[in-house]
Assembly symmetry: C2
Homo-oligomer: 276 residues x 2
């Protein structure tokens, strides 16, 4: 059996499925876990690949360590989404982290990943991690706590998740950050989602003093090229903090990759400076 | 109609075909030109995507400009393969170039690309470009001329093209280069072709004083992540030459991208230093 994700109307990725490990309709979406020949276990939500054992390390390392190594003392981290646990796992590596709040709308994603993707989801058992099952956009509006770093580990901007790419959401993120805080959001492919990247960049740039794009390669995501948009109140993400954390366990992130990831090809740079 | 390339036994890319513009069996291979919805016109050899209008700029800019901006005065360039013309087009941009020798085994590739992919193949009409229709491995063995830069724009290492990944070939390349010359070969995906990259790196490193890997993102190539192996007799490719050439027409390459491309994620670095 083969699973095909239509990534654009005219292009798809197809992979050989050894076994369907799980499949259900939760109150929010269709959740599937497939065991594939090339990518190992794959989490699929509403037909779209969210993460695979093969290349999840790239996405999770780059989402977590770039902002955490920008902030000189990140202690309180909020993760919006991230129900597979991979982002929390990476954040936990930083010795300075005291508390991780993860807000995932779909309890079943966490439960299913805890069972089928323990390499990622074992982070949920850590005492520093607190999971809330509610809408991330609503949670961040409440502004009950302030954070040093917020990581928006959102799915594609379709349906309910579209709110996680809105200016109201970025404004709420700004309010929920401490005066030297910063946030990162995954913002799709610079080859396939150029309008989205431009629009997010402009919204974030209206709110945050420092806004930058950076890039990484995730083969199972559309086009393989992935963008992250970072908004910061004080610290420039191209400068690593003096106390940056590096581990030999990292497979993609290094301090050099951190800085190289901000070097944008002209066709990507143009997305952050339309007309210029 | 959809065209699917099986990139690995368990994974493929599939794209919607608007029209098959050409299809024939040459003495060397099956050649097809498809017009696709997402990627525009696509050159397919023996069922494998070679180049597309959508993302060819990445591959050709990175294959050509990294070595040409390493060498302080590149005048004579040899291209092995490159029958679509994209690499020659990029080399022609450098004002210092005096002569480009292109050795393509299959005359029909050049003829078909001249007709269907003029954005790439118009370079063949330039007076600085001389095309030879013969086996690249045999041509370079003859050592009739010496070159400043050799670009190995080879297809996948299957069938006859496997010779373009052999130690005898790299030895002949070394002999065909001037005492300060350098060469680059495309060496497939660091996600999907790790053994190949390690083996090429070791062979080249045995022959050349300086051997380095660099990376770029080409969505229509397997995994989207692509490696280039560079062997140099004198100049370090991480240092741009003082007279490097940059054009506003470049869409991927910049001097900063040049240097960033050599920053390897640990899982890629490991391919060039097995066991270390």
């Amino acid at each position: 059996m083969w699973f095909t994700e239509r990534q654009k109307p005219g292009v798809g990725i197809t992979c050989k499925v050894l076994r369907t490990l799980h499949r259900e309709i939760s109150p929010f979406q269709e959740i599937a876990v497939l065991d594939t020949e090339q990518f190992g276990r794959v989490l699929v939500l509403d037909g779209m690949i969210q993460t695979t054992i093969f290349d999840e390390f790239v996405y999770h390392e780059m989402l977590a360590h770039v902002p955490l190594n920008t902030h000189p003392a990140p202690r309180d981290v909020l993760i919006i989404g991230g129900g597979d646990g991979g982002t929390a796992r990476e954040v936990l590596r930083h010795p300075q982290i005291e508390k991780i709040t993860l807000v995932e709308i779909d309890r079943r994603v966490v439960e299913i990943c805890s069972h089928f993707l323990p390499e990622l989801a074992s982070s949920f058992d850590h005492p520093k991690v607190k999971v809330h099952f509610e809408d991330g956009a609503e949670y961040v509006q409440k502004k009950e706590v302030s954070y040093d770093v917020i990581l928006v580990d959102a799915p594609e901007p379709v349906g309910r998740a579209a709110r996680l790419f809105s200016s109201e959401f970025y404004q709420a993120i700004f309010q929920a950050l401490r005066p030297d805080g910063l946030f990162v959001a995954q913002t799709e492919s610079p080859f396939f989602n150029q309008d989205l990247i431009t629009s997010v960049y402009q919204e974030v740039n209206r709110i945050f003093p420092i806004t930058k794009l950076y890039l990484a390669v995730v083969p199972t995501y559309p086009s393989g090229f992935w963008s992250f948009t970072l908004g910061s109140k004080r610290f420039d993400p191209e400068m690593l903090s003096e106390d940056y954390y590096f581990s030999q366990a990292f497979r993609y992130y290094t301090p050099e990759i951190h800085q190289a990831a901000f070097k944008l090809p002209p066709f990507v740079h143009a997305l952050s400076s339309p007309g210029g």
